[in-house]
């Protein structure tokens, strides 16, 4: 019999854990022993400390950005000028750089990560899948400064040869706005590629775990109905796990937004807004890393902290948007995805 390779994970589904937990807490409270109380106190304090830490950081950033906001007003966010010599600061070019490079990174990493996860769980033989997972997880352990160095010496020349090929192409690709400009190698494309490499391990690992959670019954039902592998994956397995994959994407995005060192080394650090993938740019995190130590004035430091605050707000907004979207999708697709 030609049975498809099916993983049978022996895990408790998350929903079951949630059902058990309140019951456990109730039972735990009723015993009311001293040690338990102490334990509750300690764990509670740990939780409070974590929340407090976040609050302290936010307070520091708000307080630090006040001078710049007072001096420049809300125009700070929308101004494209960054001129430390004349004490003129604006965040727009950096915001654009962060958004553009993150977009490129996610556009590459998300499909690549999810499709690889599908291959690992559903298609490839177990041994090979394990080897590949391990390799990708090791990728996450490479310090970003090393990836940046690799970027300067290996990736950038590669990107440049690609850019030169586009530039010389008889089809006239270079007339397209996203391919315009001199083929320098450094810029949005190189930075986006590096970010994709960094986000990939996160997206892949989480997607793989999510796909492993799909119940065997779901798979077997699909195959029993005579579905081909493609149909089973598309109609039965991916719809079941889309929420988790969405989460994987968010995790990858969080990694990408704040990435500093590697991007700084390959983006060209030019504060400008250009649509071309080949143009050099600058990101919020990069300019903070570059200019903080030698910031010429208190206002400059405040402006840099404001950029950090903008990055934080951006992350929070994205998370909120993602959650809203999740609720919306949940309502629309609730009937399709198995609960």
């Amino acid at each position: 019999m030609d049975a498809p390779a099916i993983e049978t994970p022996e895990m408790t589904p998350p929903s079951l854990v949630l059902q058990i937990l309140p019951e456990g807490i109730r039972r735990w409270r009723s015993t009311g022993r001293g040690a338990d109380r102490l334990f509750r106190l300690v764990t509670g304090m740990c939780a409070a400390a974590v929340a407090g830490l976040l609050l302290i950081v936010i307070l520091f950033m708000v307080k630090g950005s006040l001078p710049a906001i007072r001096d420049h007003g809300l125009g700070f966010v929308l101004s494209p000028d960054w001129d430390p010599t004349n004490q003129k600061y604006g965040a727009l070019t950096f915001l654009f750089g962060t958004a553009y490079t993150s977009l490129i990174g996610m556009a590459i990493a998300l499909p690549l990560g999810v499709l690889t996860a599908v291959a690992l769980v559903e298609i490839l033989p177990r041994g090979l899948a394990k080897a590949i997972s391990l390799a990708v997880e090791l990728l996450a352990a490479i310090p970003s400064v090393l990836l940046g160095l690799w970027g300067i010496f290996e990736l950038v020349p590669l990107v440049r040869s690609f850019e030169i090929a586009i530039y010389r192409s008889p089809l006239g690709f270079r007339k397209l706005p996203i391919f315009s400009g001199a083929p320098l190698g450094v810029g949005f494309l190189a930075a986006g590629l590096l970010l994709a490499i960094m986000a990939l391990p996160f997206i892949l690992s989480v997607s793989r775990e999510v796909l492993l959670q799909v119940p065997t019954a779901q798979r077997e039902a699909a195959y029993a109905l005579g579905a081909t592998r493609w149909q089973a994956i598309r109609k039965f397995i991916l719809p079941y796990s889309w929420k988790g994959i969405f989460g994987a994407g968010l995790l990858g995005l969080a990694r990408v937004l704040g990435e500093t060192m590697a991007v700084t080394m390959v983006i060209g650090n030019t504060p400008q807004i250009k649509a071309s993938l080949f143009a050099s740019g600058y990101t919020l995190a990069s300019v903070i890393a570059n200019e903080f130590t030698e910031a010429p004035s208190d206002l400059a430091i405040s402006a840099l902290i404001s950029l950090g605050l903008i990055l934080l707000v951006l992350t929070v907004l994205l998370n909120a948007a993602a959650r809203l979207m999740l609720i919306y999708l949940n309502r629309r697709m609730g009937t399709q995805g198995a609960k």
Binding site: T85, I152, M265, G268, T270, Y282, E294, P296
Partner: protein, 337 residues
Amino acid sequence: MTSRTLVRTALTVLLLAPAAFAQTVNLSGAGSTFIYPLASKWFNEYNKLHPQIQINYQSIGSGGGIRQFSQDRTVDFGETDGPMTDQQLKESKVQPVVHLPMALGGVVPVYNLRVGGLRFSGETLADIYLGKIVMWDDPAIAKDNPGVKLPSDPITVVHRADGSGTTYTWVDYLSKVSGAFKQKVGVGTSVTWPVGLGGKGNEGVAGLVKQTPGAIGYVELIYALQTKIACAPVKNAAGEFVNASLASVSAAAATANIPADYRVSITNAPGKAVYPISTFTWLLATPSMQDAKKKKALHDFLVWAVTKGQGYSEGLGYAPLPKNLVQRELKDIGKLK
């Protein structure tokens, strides 16, 4: 017999040890990353000579050094690659602040082109960094390099993206030789560049230049010496094209007109043997130090650093202070006692 001696020795050590600890003086400093390799060598060697004096230094950058010394007052001395401005001196919570040159450094142009052996005048470099000169076969570059067949390649300008004393020295020089540069870019540790890519640190700039055909950038002389990158000679105020070396950088300090407070830029200094893009790195101290022991320790260390300590400079790639300057500084260090 032996065991009794042992016990006696142990007791003596135990009794004397607290006394020795009590005499330890801890000095702390912060600032320039440029001086860090030389400074840590000094502190180490000085500690070997005077074990009771320990100097702790954090290389957090010149700007941070100035802040910690003059505003936060958390350190006993600062180190900076650019002198404090009049404004900074006025606002300083430490009064008076004394600047003392400790060593010299240079900034050199590096490039990546099919032809080698190029040399530059300051005006040409300024126009390249202003974006006025965009091709390697520009008449201005040809004029600096008679007889060289220059290719018709585009120039990619590379500068430092992080704020740094290296950038300060570079734009300080370009502003001196070009009015247009002074007006459009100005002087600072980080400036707004009309053209070009930014690299992080010397290694970032050198990496970009190495990887980009037709690129030109600037790095610290020490970095160029250590990594053996070919650097181009620059035309000095006397009209000579001079290669950057420890000797030609030291010469700039010997010929430059140095005011009493030492707060001076020595770029574009006069003299035939002078390399024009040279700079001091300063130590910031004050005679108003409260702790007498610390005060004496710092004084003694400074005397040593500008005399015997200069012997360590060349080995680490720093240009030593010229002798006439050391004599002057010793007098001023005497006032710190």
